[in-house]
């Protein structure tokens, strides 16, 4: 790792730590950092009154941890897909997972609002169903596994689920407003409830991503070189896209549709670090994605406090200028 790459990763990590402390400290009520440290479970907790303890350990830490995991998952998902498909436009959208998760959430939010607690699992389920459909079409038969076929299958399957979502919105127009948060991307004070269901998917995704780094680096030199080095290009693409879909579906279950993060963060990381090596891009995208989402979420909570705004638009407002600045500098 060069000095420049270490500096980028270090900066992202520092921003992440500061943002995490700010996220716990700031909210509709501000808790001094001293009390935050006193309340942290690792130092024994109990150093603060019950109300403060409840706010920190019951509400803000789960939200902060969720933001970190979602940001890391989407950053990694984007890095894996852009590497596997050798396409700078690749994001979790292209394998259908976003459209599927959106449909899964809308189905319950609009057609069965009584089952709102199941929205995350429905988003996860339909996100993976959509991806499975895309993969079945893309890999079946002769010539399966080509990048063009995967992307086209993704567009087609996404269209089907998007049409389903539109149909639901037409059928229940009065309930559409309740779904805005999910579509915009949100973080909430749900405690550990959703994370308890979703963490195994994230864990599998994070571990698998670590093992995909080297095969993806080999793939970057072309299928022939990858094969020369003992990698089966189509298998790597399939697994990498599948892992990305798993991470993106789990992220959608936790925080709605934040696809922008998966598209932009890996690019920003490549531009800032000056390398496309996955050994750098994948871990740094995880840290930078988590940092961006945390900063955006803390901002979203403070801007119109005590109103808790969806994080998605704030992430775009914060991320796009930074991204455009890097883009200009790169050329």
């Amino acid at each position: 790792m060069t000095l420049r790459q270490a500096a980028v990763l270090g900066t992202a990590a520092v921003v992440l730590v500061i943002a995490a402390l700010a996220s716990i400290s700031l909210g509709s009520t501000t808790i001094p950092l001293r009390d935050v440290f006193d309340a942290l479970p690792v130092v024994g907790g109990g150093g603060v009154d019950r109300a403060t303890d409840q706010i920190i350990n019951g509400l803000r830490i789960p939200r902060t941890v969720t933001a970190i995991l979602v940001g890391a998952a989407l950053g990694i998902a984007g890095a894996l897909l852009q590497g596997a498909l050798a396409n700078p436009l690749a994001s979790p959208d292209v394998v259908g997972v976003t459209a599927g998760a959106g449909f899964g959430a809308m189905l319950l939010l609009l057609a069965a609002p009584g089952a709102i607690a199941l929205v995350p699992l429905s988003a996860l389920f339909f996100g993976l169903v959509a991806t499975a459909l895309v993969f079945t079409v893309a890999w079946a038969g002769r010539g399966g596994g080509s990048i063009a076929r995967l992307i086209l299958a993704g567009i087609a399957v996404s269209a089907v689920f998007t049409a389903g979502t539109t149909a639901l919105m037409t059928a229940y127009p009065d309930r559409v407003s309740s779904a805005i948060f999910f579509v915009a991307g949100y973080l909430s004070y749900d405690g550990w409830r959703v994370l308890q269901d979703v963490w195994p998917y994230l864990a599998v995704g994070f571990v698998a991503a670590a093992f995909l780094i080297r095969p993806l680096d080999r793939l970057a030199l072309g299928d022939d070189v990858a094969q020369s080095l003992g990698v089966r290009p189509r298998l790597v693409r399939l697994v990498a896209a599948g892992v990305a879909a798993l991470l993106a579906a789990a992220a959608a279950a936790l925080a709605g549709l934040l696809g922008f993060l998966g598209l932009v963060v890996p690019h920003a990381v490549r531009l800032a670090g000056g390398t496309a090596s996955h050994r750098f891009v994948v871990p740094t995208s995880a840290v930078a994605g988590a940092a961006l989402l945390l900063v955006a979420d803390t901002t979203a909570r403070r801007v119109a406090a005590p109103l808790d705004l969806p994080v998605g638009p704030f992430m775009v407002v914060l991320g796009v200028p930074l991204f455009l600045w890097l883009l200009r500098k790169a050329v």
Partner: protein
């Protein structure tokens, strides 16, 4: 110059068991039989050039022998083991494949690319050790690409890129190097550089298998040429014997002659517009 190596070419290494032995190989692509019957041997220290007209199946033969394509019939054995039964990681240490049209990713330096070439020697989730880093530097130097190490691949010329590709292959540390038309996109000077590199690698003991279009080049650097015609290997042997005027007429359908002078310079004299003897101008020879 190349003639100096005649002793090495016919030396004891060639008499031993071949590194690669291809027998009766057939390959189907998309339902079409591209290769019908191919035989080929590659020994350590030997440079074998596969030649033949466009579409004859040259690339398909070396790709199948390298394990990049699945044969429909026949065998390609590396050190006596069929390529289909060699594990991917072991195969990566037995032979390196240098592609014809390399993919040139943005944001990757030559050094990073060659480090990737070393990856078959590095355990999963491990970082390259001191020995691996030394092997990467050696490969770059050996391919005359040491001064390109920190350059981005997208900024390299065709000749420079081909040398880096060669370094990626050399970093695999394999006894055999297979290259599909490594000089087809290069100018005269870069072609000569690549030719000298490949010849010296063979002289150092590597088995080099090339697909080559340029018959004069093949004649100058190869110990053995294998002629492929319509999916079959139809002749194999020393270039000057195999690439006879009759062979050029039957396989390539041109009136041409390969000439070699005492200094090892080779030239292909082609009757571009008709028969050689009828061509206007001064006599050749």
């Amino acid at each position: 110059m190349a003639r100096d190596h005649d002793a090495a070419r016919t030396g004891s290494s060639v008499d031993g068991a071949p590194l690669l032995r291809v027998r009766n190989l057939a390959v189907r692509l998309g339902g079409t039989e591209i290769v019908r019957h191919a035989d080929l041997d590659l020994h350590r220290g030997q440079l074998v050039a596969v030649v033949g007209p466009n579409g004859a199946g040259k690339s398909t033969i070396v790709r199948a022998a390298s394990g990049l394509l699945r044969p429909a019939a026949g065998t390609a054995e590396w050190d006596g083991t069929d390529v289909r039964r060699v594990g991917a990681r072991r195969l990566a240490r037995i032979r390196a494949f240098v592609p014809q049209r390399p993919q040139v990713p943005a944001g990757i330096t030559a050094h990073e690319a060659v480090t990737i070439g070393r990856s078959a020697h590095v355990g999963a989730l491990r970082r390259p050790g001191a020995a691996d880093r030394a092997a990467v530097d050696r490969a770059l130097e050996r391919a005359a690409a040491g001064d390109l190490a920190e350059r981005q691949l997208v900024t390299l010329s065709g000749g420079e890129l081909q040398r880096v590709q060669l370094a990626v292959g050399l970093a695999q540390g394999a006894p055999a190097l297979i290259a599909d038309e490594p000089t087809s996109a290069l100018d005269l000077g870069a072609t000569a550089t690549m030719a000298r590199l490949l010849r010296s690698l063979a002289d150092d003991g590597l088995g080099i298998l090339l697909v080559v279009h340029d018959l004069a080049l093949a004649c100058a650097i190869a110990d053995t040429v294998v002629v492929v015609e319509d999916g079959r290997t139809v002749a194999a042997g020393p270039p000057v014997e195999v690439l006879s005027t009759e062979r050029l007429a039957t396989t390539w359908r041109v009136d041409a002659a390969l000439r070699t002078d005492d200094a090892g310079r080779t030239a292909l004299h082609v009757g571009w517009l008709g028969a050689l003897d009828d061509a206007p101008g001064r006599p050749l020879g």
